[in-house]
Symmetry: none
Subunit: 258 residues, 2 copies
DNA sequence: CGCTATTTGTGCGTATGTATC
DNA sequence: GGATACATACGCACAAATAGC
């Protein structure tokens, strides 16, 4: 493969982008199968007539996209034929998903024991007939008159005493459970949907019945995968939106780790 | 600060790692406040007695961590005092935020150039008068008749050619931009709200006007913190809900990540 | 086991391009 | 236009990891 005229690079704003694009296409086309080694950096320099710096910059992009991994003394290996969404990652620390729980106070209006019927059992992912503590309340921003949400929280039976003597907790309920019972929430499953607000809820929220509302269901699980708490929040559509930020996990670190 | 003996670098396997660590510590200590500019690359070369290549490699790590952003002609700006976060992680598994993009195909119906007016400029976080490529389409599950979403995507002007010759892309648009232009999306900001579906959208979605719909806005940012793409999806409330799972990052993994 | 060749990683120097002020 | 600062690109050298002899 010692051509005197090197392989031309297609369009692209810079050489390393053009080279990266070329390699991505080659990988997608199956020219470099999964698990195979790419040409060495030196070979790519010769093939494309660019410096090693440019080659490394291009391969770095491929590594960032999760397409290849590099190993000293071995080479650059194809790990994926196309960039998958290994994306997703984080909400910023205490923020975002758990954010609004901080600025907003929860006022409890009712606590009752309930036995799960068919519908409720589906929501709580349990057997019908199981007992739960149901807590009803409203979330208000300090100073605001209208509540921004109606809340129903279902607490699994062993933790039913978590709210003993508390009417306006300053922590999210799951955090109270963590503190009081020494368990840790390791997983939160969240489901968001749009619903028409029913008449009764509309009255409390101060909106017209039938307007659009945001229903946020969160299920808090412990390390064993058991549900500890299920919270159902209903927000008026014009007064609330749900924001979060996702950051890409530093791909360079991920590449080294693999 | 023209010492003949430059500032010593602490421990670290390599110089750029040691330098990066030093800068991370300085930022965390408040020596470079939020929004401030780091010393220029040239200054850092002199201060630490290393080459510009080493400085750039170190700063690249800081940028990967989301601590700083770089801008030609300006400098390197501090964007966070420490990299998030303890919580975090989410799954790349099924039921994910990006999951539905895989099972669902996007059909583009329209591409036009638009100039941002006041309202659009607010959504796109730009100055009014700026040009964007607006792409309109529908998302359909294969086999299903009714679309599950109406989509508007705004693509920043430099990337307007990303869809040349494509009508039903097999990758999310942001992934196409990544491949074609060699940039990487490092952050996604997502906002979900409930809205009443307007008449025109209702007709396409096959629902009654005024019913509840879920509007999901995603903004895709590059490492410099600049918006590359903004996608607005409108889902019928009865046909879609938005699910995601967050896992608590395990302590061992957190140690590596930091 | 040591030795060597290969391959990526680290580091330096220099020059030019491009964006910003 | 000029000055500044980051981006791209070329070159070189040596270190570290790996594989094979």
């Amino acid at each position: 493969m010692n051509q005197s005229s090197p392989q031309p690079l297609g369009a692209g704003h810079t050489r390393y982008i053009a080279l990266a694009q070329s390699l991505i296409d080659d990988i997608a086309a199956g020219r470099y199968p999964l698990g195979a080694l790419l040409p060495t950096e030196h070979e790519l320099c010769a093939q494309f007539g660019v410096s090693r710096h440019t080659v490394r910059e291009a391969i770095r992009r491929l590594a960032d996209l999760g397409l290849v991994t590099r190993q000293p003394g071995v080479g650059t290996r194809v790990r994926a034929l196309r960039s998958a969404s290994r994306y997703v990652h984080s909400s910023t620390g205490s923020g975002d998903l758990f954010q609004y729980v901080r600025d907003v106070k929860l006022f409890l209006t009712q606590q009752i024991e309930v036995i799960a019927d068919e519908d409720l059992a589906e929501l709580l992912e349990c057997q019908p007939g199981q007992a739960w503590l149901k807590v009803v309340g409203e979330r208000r921003v300090t100073g605001e008159e209208q509540p921004i949400a109606l809340t129903q929280v279902f607490i699994v039976w062993p933790y039913r005493d978590v709210l003993k003597g508390v009417s306006a907790p300053d922590l999210p309920l799951y955090a109270l459970i963590e503190q009081r019972y020494g368990v840790v929430v390791t997983e939160v499953r969240q489901q968001i949907s749009a619903v028409a607000i029913d008449e009764e809820s509309a009255r409390v929220l101060g909106v017209e019945p039938g307007t659009a509302g945001l229903r946020v269901i969160r299920k808090y699980l412990n390390a064993a995968g058991n549900i500890m708490e299920v919270a159902v929040n209903l927000h008026p559509g014009d007064r609330f939106s749900h924001s979060m930020t996702l950051r890409l996990e530093s791909a360079s670190a991920a590449g080294r780790g693999a």
